[in-house]
């Protein structure tokens, strides 16, 4: 392994965030220390309002932290960066654009070469299983399909880091577990470092190398659990004893905290 491989993909040191409103100020995050290695898949679990989305915005450079520092691939975060792709909680598609055009949007904004990005868009549409839906408009798609478009869009400019903010929260259980498998397949094909926010403990365990548990607001890192399931992960693992034990372990950790 070269020294470049040892640089963490995401590194947060003593990160705090305070939102200042007219008269009140709200501490959203406090003293967050977190390291995500390259090509690692990490999930973030925590109660609503504990600052998960805020942490994602800090990492993606959409907001500056009030305290501490964040490094992405060895460089301090000073603003938005191309290395990062974001999948939002809502699909956030442009309803006036077809699937293909939605996927190509970031490439257009970044001024990437049109022919190449069109080809990449097609590859990604195939990758997320939407072949044949290129010319459809968002209102013609189901919620799960819309979120697939969101994932393809986040990957169009070939980011090395993917941030996902509860992307499957609004989906039914069947669609959700299907998309879990798809995400797993995409990750194993492309190996982009992934940080996933989720409310689902099984989802976090099934997908991740490590699960980070945050406290209620102000968000602090309570615990980091290694997921010792082997790769590649298979659907059968979700009913295996090891998996159930791990889910149990995380639930217990969370249950004790919020009891």
């Amino acid at each position: 392994m070269g020294s470049a491989d040892r640089v963490a993909a995401i590194e947060a040191r003593g990160v705090g965030m305070v939102y200042n409103r007219k008269r009140t100020s709200l501490v959203a995050l406090e003293a967050i220390d977190l390291t995500v290695k390259k090509e690692e898949f990490v999930s973030l679990l925590g109660p609503s309002g504990c600052g998960k989305t805020t942490l994602l915005k800090l990492i993606s450079g959409l907001l500056p932290p009030s305290a501490g520092a964040i490094m992405v691939e060895g460089a301090p975060v000073l603003g938005p960066q191309r290395k990062i792709g974001i999948v939002f909680q809502t699909p956030a598609l442009m309803k006036w654009r077809s699937v293909e055009k939605n996927v190509m949007l970031p490439a257009e904004v970044l001024g990437l070469e049109r022919k190449k990005s069109r080809q990449r868009a097609q590859e990604l549409i195939d990758l997320v299983g939407l072949t044949g839906f290129e010319r459809k408009y968002p209102h013609e798609l189901s919620g799960g399909m819309q979120q697939r478009v969101g994932i393809a869009r986040a990957l169009i400019h070939d980011p090395s880091i993917l941030l996902l903010d509860e992307p499957f929260g609004a989906l039914d259980l069947m669609t959700r577990s299907q998309l879990n498998l798809e995400l797993l397949r995409i990750w194993s094909e492309r190996r982009q470092t992934s940080l996933l926010i989720t409310h689902s403990i099984p989802e976090a365990v099934f997908l991740s190398d490590r699960v980070v548990v945050l406290s209620a607001r102000p968000g602090r890192v309570l615990d980091i659990l290694e997921v010792s399931l082997p790769r590649p992960r298979t659907p059968e693992m979700r009913v295996g004893r090891k998996f159930v034990e791990l889910v149990d372990q995380v639930s217990r950790r969370i249950g004790l905290e919020y009891a």
């Binding site: 915005k57 993606s60 450079g61 959409l62 603003g79 938005p80 990062i84 974001i86 939002f88 909680q89 809502t90 956030a92 442009m94 309803k95 006036w96 654009r97 949007l105 970031p106 257009e108 904004v109 970044l110 408009y137 968002p138 209102h139």
Partner: protein, 285 residues
Amino acid sequence: MRISSEEKGGRAFEGPQREPVIALFLRSPAVIRLLKLVLTLFLFALLWEAACRAFQVPSYLLPAPSRIFAALFGPVSFLGDGLITLYETLLGFAAALVVGVLAASAVVVFPAIADIVMPLLLMAQLVPKVAIAPIMMIWLGYGLLPKIALAFLVSFFPIVINTASGLSSLEKELLDLAHSLEASRWQLFWKFRVPSALPLLFDGMKISITLAVIGAVISEFVGGSQGLGFLILMANQQLNTALAFASLLLMSLGGIVLYALVELAERILIPWNLSEERWVKAGGL
């Protein structure tokens, strides 16, 4: 290969029989809606006619529909006056569209000027337009210009308000996406804000076009020698109420057609806005 082509052929044969176009047309929600409307109006006219005859209402008080109809095809030609009013309406509306969209864009792109522009717009909106009409005559003469100006003044407010709120109502996540891609101010405006504002702009245009008709007619009332508004004025002076009603009928018919044209443009230009909700609305009438 062979199997898949057979499959294709099979599916084509099993497809449902195509219905005659006319049957599809008659069952489309829009046509059903139109038929319902026409039927309702027809029944209303019948009742009206019956009441006028039964109670022998004098025509100068309330003309029966048959008389209004007669006036419509009588000695007075509506064509010239109708075209004049249409011309004033369309030019006023076009000006309102251009000025309204530009003003709204300026306010959204440079929020600093909103504090100056919005109160002025509101003041302009609050002034009673009937009171302005004579002043327009003094400033712009007795030709078509003051009529166009009034149609513009009456109709541009809904365009400004709707466009401004459309331009600033971009989904939060899309705004985050734009920022995360470091979109320029220009890109944010054209690629994100403008398209997302179109549905509201069209809603504004629908209100605006009907107001433009009213503006043009008010202006013809106040001073002028042609147009449907002038015709109504003349008819009233001669106690020719049937003629006045005929002009009114023509005016509202024209308004409906203009409204429908804006709606048609909306369907053609932003088909993606035909969300499920709208279909339900259309079908649920």
